[in-house]
Amino acid sequence: MIIFDLLGMLLTAYFVGFLYYGLYRNITARFQRRIGPTVLQSFFDSIKFFSKDESTSHGWMFYLGPVIMTTGAVMTLFFIPFFYESESFRGLSQYGNLFVVLYLIMLGPLGNAMGVGVSGSPFAAMGITRGLTRMFAMELPFYIAVIALMSINHSADIATIAANQTTINAFAYPLLFIGALFSFIAMMGNSPFDVVGAPVEVYSGPAAEFSGKFLGLLMSQSSIMSFAKLVLMVNLFLGGAGGFIELLVKTFILFLFVIAFGSIYGRFKTPQSVDFLVKVPTAIAVAGLLLATLGGQ
């Protein structure tokens, strides 16, 4: 039954996502020589947000913003198969290929942008501008790498690309992987590309107006989305996964790398991050694409 399949995917992503988010806070704390919160703290936080007595709303569009964002995250998850050969946990991936996923990733943030815009907070709109600006720059190296993979495998199907790797793509096409990895760090909203949320020093960012259950929903979708992106990256570059253990190990390694990278480097300003992303990772990815496609002939 596809319903149970989808439910299974959703629950896995939800809990693993929160687990990873907790680990993120914990590991970052260790990098900074703090002890940090317990691993389940983020999960408790989201439950607390959901059970708040009151949350402020700015009309129906404000209400729909987080809902569309969550829908976008869940849809992205459904179109990415967890395992390359299994009949289960492949969700709706046979009904849409990588092009659909690449666009679904952007659906949520755009939907939420409507909710943020209607709240009328100029600082929140500032966060959206930063997000959209960073978005097109961060997509470029990722697109190049993904398109190269699609061309090499003669398929835009994620499961096929995952299954086709005798040596995993990260080693077979290292330049493509490095280029895509920069984008991936930005997509995960991690430093040095985390100016959108700018959680510490500026009272801004898309979440500025959301409170109570809206914030809880945004937190939940963020963990689902993070896990979906990790699975996508594992499928494309790390050889996919045959079972749950492999999936968890591979996603965790990738996640650990992203955290470590983010803990070391400082934050770019928006124009700086755009400038960096369209230059260095893009050049690496283009070189990788040329090597991969011309070398094959």
Binding site: F50, S51, K52, D53, E54, S55, T56, S57, H58, G59, M61, Y63, V67, T70, T71, M75, L92, Y95, G96, N97, F99, V100, L102, Y103, L104, M106, L107, L110, M114, G117, V118, S119, G120, S121, P122, F123, A125, M126, I128, T129, T133, M135, F136, E139, L140, Y143, I144, I147, M150, S151, H154, A156, Y203, K213, T270, P271, D275, V278, V286, T293
Partner: protein, 583 residues
């Protein structure tokens, strides 16, 4: 007059639909009236029916919106004449009638624009339109010299009979003429001003239909005259691909810098046509080009009519003067939301279907860098697309007047409902039109699209199921909404629009809160975007006009209008002739 226009438009649509069912053609040899070697004709092929359908449909839709405008009889008459000339362009079977249609189109557009355009914008338009027409005429004459026939049927024969130099000249002239009409970057100097200053009710037609005539002409040129399928990797292919790509990237960034809504949409038109031109460089990109032409026509009608409604109600046309209209105009907001989702090419709606075809064509041909650049361009469009909805409907109202505005009148909403319904249906069933497009592709002798049912859009590389995507989206959306609503936590509406988190301060009437409309301007700090924004073709054209003026001033010194000077010049001229004759 308004009802008459609606009746005429419905009759036109009926006529076009009737022709699509029963194909017809008419030919005439002008030798009978003393013009040897000239045959003209009209025919209703599947391709011309498709474009005629776009014209008739757009004509009908904009004639509904005329209900609220007081336009002179002359305006209506010119509109009918324009539509007739467009029909002549798409139905003609030879380049002679095509040119007549093209010329009438350019002139009637000029006259229609002359109602509202400033002198400068009007001069820009007519110079470019005439340059386009003259270059088209020259190209047609060159082609005629090949086989002494204007008919499309002989065109490929005529083209191959030309010497290779003449072939190059022909293609360059032809592409120049069409690129001017498409407003490809560098030749778009006239377009943005004309679009933004034209009458609000006429702009949808201008963007949705008139630019499509150039797409039609380009398809005829590439398929029936040059036969692009037989010439992969020639300079023609690269010119098309790169021109389209550069146009879409540059126009998308240029749109960021604009404050006027209609100027943003004008740049967006350039970008979308850029995708079409790029994909037309491959013969089997025709399916994507046709699909995208249809979607672009529908979505630009929707967006421009929406904007016309806003301008009608508020008489403001800039982002900096609007804002916060969402709860005053909820229906218009939803229509614009559908419009921008399609324009962005997001999956649940129709915009994704045509982009999907375009991307797949590029992937199949291994043009990976062009594909990456095009997807990048498409992603960079999100910024102005968001600005479009934020600047008008979200944020805060910028003046007192906007707080008491009403929803736009029904006659603006009816066409928008119609268009967005079509866009949603096509998005849900992207394979619905595959059969129809295949009839056109068969006629042009191009590889067909695979058919796998109405909800699946299939290509050689794979398929996606529009119905599953939209159904899953709706189900997940409803479930999440239900969960959110069923939570114990209460929702408190904000007191007023100033009830926001604002760094611990309390904003009031005097606080400027709607500055988000200028989003994207900070991108000037990024190197390559600054280069795009700083440089403009207007510098070149201004330089050109300055030089022309200098030449005219010099010429005026000789040809001063003084009779004795003229007489002297004539005498010198005669003397020269005499000396030459004696020698």
């Amino acid at each position: 007059m308004r009802m008459f226009t609606i009746v005429i438009s419905i009759l036109t649509l009926y006529g076009v639909l009737d022709l699509s069912v029963a194909p017809a053609s008419w030919h005439m040899d002008l030798a009978k009236i003393g013009l040897e070697n000239i045959a003209i004709g009209v025919h209703a092929t599947a391709l011309s029916n498709f474009f005629a359908l776009l014209v008739a449909m757009s004509f009908m839709i904009i004639s509904i919106t005329t209900y609220h405008y007081k336009l002179s009889k002359g305006f209506y008459f010119l509109l009918y004449l324009l539509t007739a000339s467009l029909m002549l362009i798409v139905y003609s079977a030879d380049y002679l009638l095509f040119f007549i249609g093209w010329e009438v189109m350019s002139i009637t557009t000029y006259l229609l624009l002359s109602y509202t355009l400033t002198y400068k914008a009007l001069v820009k338009y007519i110079i470019f339109a005439m340059a386009s027409a003259m270059s088209l005429l020259a190209a047609i004459v060159i082609l005629y010299s090949g086989a002494h026939s204007f008919l499309y049927a002989d065109a490929h024969h005529a083209y191959t009979a030309l010497s290779s130099t003449l072939q190059t000249v022909f293609v360059v002239l032809m592409l120049f003429a069409l690129f001017v009409k498409l407003g490809m970057i560098g030749l778009h100097y006239w377009l943005v001003d004309s679009y933004s200053q034209s009458h609000d009710f006429f702009t949808p037609f201008l963007s949705a239909v008139i630019s499509k005539m150039a797409v039609y002409a380009l398809i005829v040129l590439l398929v029936q005259v040059i036969d692009i399928a037989a010439l992969p990797n020639t300079w023609i292919v690269y010119t098309l691909a790169l021109t389209g790509l550069m146009s879409s990237i540059i126009a998308n960034f240029k749109a960021l810098n604009e404050d006027s809504i209609k100027r943003v949409l004008a740049y967006s038109s350039i970008a979308q046509l850029g995708y079409i031109v790029t994909v037309l460089s491959f013969a089997d990109g025709m399916s994507g080009a046709l699909y995208h032409s249809l979607i672009h026509t529908l979505v630009k009608l929707l967006l421009f009519i929406n904007v016309a409604g806003i301008i009608y109600m508020t008489s403001k046309s800039k982002f900096s003067e609007l804002g916060g209209l969402i709860y005053r105009m909820p229906q218009s907001f939803v229509m614009l939301l559908i419009g921008i989702i399609v324009l962005a090419g997001m999956p649940p709606l129709a915009g994704f279907a045509s982009k999907y075809l375009i991307y797949n064509t590029l992937l199949e041909h291994g043009n990976l860098l062009i594909l990456s650049a095009m997807m990048f361009s498409s992603a960079s469009a999100f910024l102005y697309i968001y600005k479009l909805i934020y600047g008008i409907y979200l944020g805060h109202p910028t003046s007192k007047k906007l707080e008491s505005i009403q929803e736009v009148p029904l006659m603006f909403l009816i066409p928008q409902y119609l268009l967005s319904a079509i866009l949603v249906i096509i998005g849900t069933f992207p394979g619905l039109l595959t059969g129809y497009f295949n009839t056109i592709l068969v006629e042009l002798g191009i590889k067909q699209l695979p058919q796998e049912g109405i909800s699946v859009l299939a290509t050689q590389n794979g398929s996606y199921n529009g119905f599953i995507v939209i159904a899953a989206f709706m189900v997940v959306f409803m479930l999440v909404l239900l969960i959110l609503l069923s939570l114990r936590s209460k929702v408190k509406e904000a007191k007023d629009r100033f009830d926001i988190a604002y760094c611990g301060e309390v904003p009031n009437e005097g606080t400027h809160l709607h500055y988000g409309y200028s989003m994207g301007k900070e991108l000037k700090r990024v190197g390559f975007i600054a280069t795009i924004l700083k440089n403009s073709s207007s510098h070149f054209y201004e330089y050109l006009s300055k030089q022309l003026f200098a030449f005219a001033t010099f010429f005026r010194k000789i040809y001063s209008g003084n009779l004795s000077v003229n007489f002297n010049i004539a005498m010198i001229f005669l003397l020269v002739l005499l000396l030459w004759g004696l020698k």
